[in-house]
């Protein structure tokens, strides 16, 4: 039965992607991309990848769609006609597709337990991580402890993306007192419901952050969900009110503080006599040291992702406000 659901969902995904090619209305294209992202999150759940599904739903279908809509507000929503012919791209795509399908025939069959990918490292993680780290969620223990370097690089990439967007678009300034009141003034229902939902969303983000050791969750998803709460506040109440709550300078400080927290855990374990990011040296008992290390670095990751996503959204939103004034 699980395979049947898999087949149907993948077919729906293929239909959605096919429809994106032929649409000229970019708003509909972005919405179809959101649907595509949610469908792939469902497929990930069906393939037992619950952490990945959570991240794809919140990051792909949440933040990506919001940023694309923000860009569409600045660049216009209809695509103009294509002037060059589409025979050559179609030919290239067909040849590449045929070559790739010929390549997939060599791959091991889907789902067999003795595929090559399930040997060497993965059984060691599955068997040893309860004894060495002691967390139920094996994805978190691999992500934060066994592959901690990769996660440090990923956090730095998010931080660098925030710096890139701020360098290209500029931070919003708080001194624009002549800026007109934005936000949705006459939507009273939305005001009330947003005031109910936003604190609960932030609470849920904190729950996801600290519960990542026991179930799906962790720093990335939590940072994105907390950023989504503040994005809702900005959309409903206006950018200037939102910048009064959390200003752009504080966000820049938070983003760099998260990366610094992560790296300093590594430096502290070097100071205690181990290698960089060796959490067993953080406490007397190695397993407790692993737990401390994982909680602190996940906190660093969550803070950086939250600050980076919110800074990027502020940059896009202040561009939209500026073009509205003009």
């Amino acid at each position: 039965m699980g395979e049947f659901i898999d087949l149907v969902l993948l077919a729906m995904l293929a239909l959605t992607a096919l429809r994106i090619i032929f649409l000229k209305d970019l708003f509909a294209v972005v919405m179809l991309f959101g649907i595509y992202s949610f469908l792939s999150a469902l497929i990930f759940v069906n393939l037992d990848a619950v952490d990945v599904a959570f991240t794809e739903a919140s990051v792909g279908a949440g933040i990506s769609t919001v940023l694309m809509l923000g860009t569409l507000a600045l660049t216009g929503r209809k695509e103009k006609e294509n002037t060059h012919s589409s025979i050559l791209p179609l030919l290239v795509v067909c040849i590449t597709g045929a070559a790739l399908i010929y390549g997939t025939l060599d791959m091991p069959p889907f789902g067999h337990p003795d595929n090559p990918v399930h040997e060497h490292v993965a059984p060691r993680y599955i068997e040893e991580s309860p004894k060495e780290i002691g967390l139920p969620n094996m994805v978190t223990s691999v992500l934060a402890s066994y592959r901690g370097f990769d996660t440090l690089g990923e956090t730095v990439v998010v931080f660098a993306a925030a710096i890139g967007v701020l360098a290209l678009l500029g931070t919003g300034r708080k001194e624009d007192d002549e800026a007109p009141e934005s936000g949705l003034k006459s939507h009273h229902v939305l005001h009330v419901v947003a005031k109910i939902i936003i604190p609960l969303t932030i609470l849920f983000a904190l729950y996801v952050q600290f519960h990542g050791d026991f179930g799906p969750g962790g720093g990335f998803q939590a940072g994105v969900i907390a950023a989504a709460a503040f994005i809702l506040y900005t959309l409903v109440f206006g950018l200037s009110k939102s910048m009064d709550v959390i200003g752009p300078k504080f966000l820049q400080f938070m983003a760099s503080f998260g990366v610094l927290l992560y790296a300093s855990v590594g430096l502290y374990s070097m100071y205690k006599g181990g290698q960089f990011l060796d959490y067993s040296k953080l406490a007397v008992d190695p397993v407790a040291g692993q737990h401390y290390g994982i909680i602190i670095i996940e906190l660093g990751v969550g803070i950086t992702v939250f600050a980076a996503m919110l800074s990027i959204f502020y940059a896009f939103s202040s561009q939209a406000e500026r073009s509205n004034i003009q």
Binding site: I20, L74, V158, L169
Partner: protein, 118 residues
């Protein structure tokens, strides 16, 4: 029939990859190119996660009484990849906003030959 079931996932992934690739190389509007790039990226994620699935296994979270888990290693790699993907999308979209401000348009055939217009 077994053969189709074994490889159906991979074929759909190749189809989605080619759809995303076609959107990237043939779309005129830059925002649509970024959407096509994201479609391509998500199909690659699906390829990795399909490789990590074990039939009859469950999610890699330790529960009492379960011995067969799906492989957690591709999940970790794809978690990193998703976040890096959204970071590149954000930078790409802000570049599009700057292009709009510099050239007045984001359609490729309108600004392709205006390299020194600013």
């Amino acid at each position: 029939m077994n053969f189709i079931l074994d490889y159906y996932n991979y074929w759909i992934v190749v189809f989605l990859m080619m759809t995303g690739f076609y959107i990237v190389i043939s779309a005129n509007n830059l925002v649509k190119k970024i959407v096509g790039l994201n479609v391509f990226q998500t199909s690659v994620f699906m390829l990795y996660i399909s490789m990590g699935k074990v039939s009859g296994g469950t999610a890699p979270i330790l529960v009492e009484g379960v011995t067969l888990y799906s492989n957690p290693l591709p999940h970790v790699l794809i978690l990193t990849a998703i976040v890096v993907g959204v970071a590149t999308t954000a930078v790409g979209l802000s570049l599009i906003v700057r292009i709009k401000r510099a050239y007045g348009t984001v359609e490729e055939n309108e600004f392709k030959n205006q390299d020194d217009a600013i």
